[in-house]
Symmetry: C2
């Protein structure tokens, strides 16, 4: 039996067990601060497979030393990271399989058909918050790893399996794993790419712009300056900046099918606090896409310059400049060279398993892959089974076939990348 056939067969015969395991970790509501029980399940599983397992709570003090740290919490007590290492038996390239255990909140429970943490399986789909983003992906990489062990394959290079906290709110888990010394020659992050391969991932920053008007009574509103009017000027200027920043990327083959490769999404516009007063303050909050290859600092500078340019269209901004603060999501872009050997391997294995060419694209969101690349100096590739459009949505699901196919492709890729002893 060829290696490919052995891998396929071994995955097939353990499917029920893998589905049960995925259900178990989905049934834990791993919103921020509540990761511990699920992480214990992951650690136990890795231990049972004979890996060296490391479980630790990220160290807040240590994290503050990194320029990439952007905390939303003031400690990580009882929010452990889990890393399991399958030590290589020789000299060979290593790989990190990185995935986050945290999920975004489930929203309105009543909008879900099943309970948000049911793990119910229907028509080949497994339902629940976090199935697509990204516990399904984490199970794909776990299957890849276990299949190697099950088949008794001895690799030359290390395989480092990371189940991290806090991706959804800024990346402290992955940053802590980097600081703890986990390093490899390549990282695969099985975020929900729908089995597209993302060799480039954009970064993501959250901004809050404050715009000033002048208060007045509603009855004599002509005596004031509406912060809504001034805020609208900022809004339009932000959209102009988005257009300018996306222009060059539209020619990039990875982004050619994407109408807005690195979007600036304005998610909130809030002005005023009394119906009968002219609003004095407007705040505009959003998400700022950072181009692959760009640093967060460069992206912030360009945004700031745009705000400074407002004085040219309205002199009020000379007196009261619009200001920006950065908070919340703070993920750098990441990726690997387009001729990186692991990228070639993944493409080949995809073709072998799926009998078709993979789609390469650039991610429309930031992930921990950016931290691995920029903070950890580890090239990273996104490739996962989840359905992109279901991430963060009601009735989130992952297609089980894709979980297993992704596992198969990653398993074969790891074997080729790390090399077999003998």
């Amino acid at each position: 039996m060829s290696l490919n056939e052995q891998v396929k067969e071994n995955i097939a015969k353990n499917k029920e067990d893998y589905i049960e395991y995925l259900q178990k970790i989905v049934q834990e509501q791993t919103i921020t601060g509540n990761e511990k029980k699920a992480q214990q399940i992951v650690a136990d599983r890795l231990t049972s497979k004979g890996l060296e397992v490391d479980v630790w709570d990220p160290d807040y003090e240590e994290l503050t030393k990194s320029e990439f740290f952007n905390p939303l919490r003031d400690n990580y007590d009882n929010s452990p990271n889990v890393v399991g290492v399958l030590k290589g038996k020789g000299e060979g390239p290593s790989v990190i399989l990185n995935g986050h255990i945290d999920v975004v909140p489930e929203g309105d429970v009543n909008k879900w058909t099943d309970h948000p943490y049911s793990g119910a399986v229907k028509d080949g789909k497994l339902y629940g918050r976090g199935t697509t983003d990204m516990k399904g992906g984490n199970v794909s990489t776990l299957i890849a790893l276990e299949t190697i062990i099950n088949l008794g394959i001895e690799l030359k290079g290390d395989v480092i399996y990371e189940s991290v906290i806090e991706e959804e709110t800024g990346g402290a888990g992955t940053l802590s794993a980097i600081q703890r010394g986990y390093h490899a020659d390549i990282a695969i992050v099985p975020e929900p790419s729908e089995m597209k391969i993302f060799p480039q991932q954009q970064g993501s920053l959250w901004f809050k712009v404050t715009v000033k008007g002048e208060a007045a009574h509603g009855g004599t509103r002509y005596e004031g300056v509406s912060a809504i009017d001034k805020g609208w000027l900022v809004y339009k200027k932000i959209l102009e900046l988005e257009e300018k920043r996306n222009e060059p990327l539209r020619k990039d083959p990875l982004y050619k099918d994407n109408p807005i490769p690195i979007p600036i999404n304005i998610g909130q516009f809030n002005a005023g606090n009394f119906p009968s007063s002219v609003p004095e303050i407007a705040t505009i909050e959003g998400r700022y896409g950072v181009a692959p290859g760009e640093t967060l600092q460069e992206a912030k500078e360009e945004f700031k310059k745009m705000l400074e340019g407002l004085a040219e269209i309205d002199e009020r901004f000379e007196k009261d400049p619009a200001t920006v603060t950065w908070g919340g999501i703070h993920l750098p872009p990441g990726g690997c060279d387009l001729d990186h050997p692991m990228l070639e391997i993944l493409k080949d294995k995809y073709e072998e398993v799926k009998n078709e060419q993979p789609i390469l694209a650039g991610s429309t969101w930031g992930t921990d892959g950016g931290l691995l690349t920029q903070a950890g100096n580890i090239p990273s590739i996104i490739f996962g089974p989840g359905t992109t459009s279901m991430a963060h949505y009601t009735n989130e699901y992952v297609e089980l076939d894709k979980v297993f196919e992704t596992a198969e492709i990653i398993c074969l890729s790891i074997i080729e990348w790390c090399g077999i002893v003998k």
Copy 2:
């Protein structure tokens, strides 16, 4: 000594007492729900002058029977109205002196030079929340009334002094006084007109428009429809409606100096709840000026029609129409005929006291005068000492000279209007 001289002299010799009384009622923080202690001071004062005094908590159930009722509370227990009646000794026209005891909240205490309820006197100004709007005015009418009593003048018609609650939040106090049967041939409301005479007062409605977009992830924002964009279309349409409604009033001599006679002030624009999502809902809240002579219903209809017209500029509004609700301030316009005899009297007395022509204008805000006119069928005139621009503002004050001059003019006007018993 002429009557005019007697009035002037009597006011002059009691100034200290009046200032002390104004301080006492300013020092009570009469925000909504906290009116009782100040109202007791008013009632005691009226009683001490020999008036028939009526103190009652407005009856919620009774109020609900009026189309003009727009409650922000579900009862008025311990928020009494006070009315004192100086019964006429013959057959003569009657007058209501109506003023509200409630004040808007003081805002940020730290922005005030003195404590917001200090009642401090500096350079002829008495400071504190509610001095201009409108306890200073209430003291002007009280002085007018007391001077008549002090001088032993016996009037033919009744003088009804009303100290009401709840003007700032919708008019329940005045509405309750109307329902209780207090009626007169004319009403003077000493709101802060800066001693201008307002024979016409606009009404005021608060609106909240809800606009729908379509949510999507920020990273693929082109899949959604931003409620900010759609909200902006509504915003512009509202401003067009304002222009259209104000056009005819700009020719009105009462409003000729006012760039926007009946403003539509958009005080709040709120959209979205997450930086990285396309905002699904925008709400636009504001204050809608109602023209003198217009009913609230007519004004609402015109607003609704404007919203319906949005479908012509963007078909999305066909599927998801922008909707409006009306809440909070709900004051009809008011006024009196421009040849009303009391208006002539006030103008004459103003000239006699001030040796100059009074300025006649239309009010830029709604007052209880509108309820007196539309719900009570009582013509009403606004004439008060307060500084318009200080109403609702930090370091609010009233100029004491204006309090006394207003008192003098109103005193002489009442005497002429009600007539003296021989």
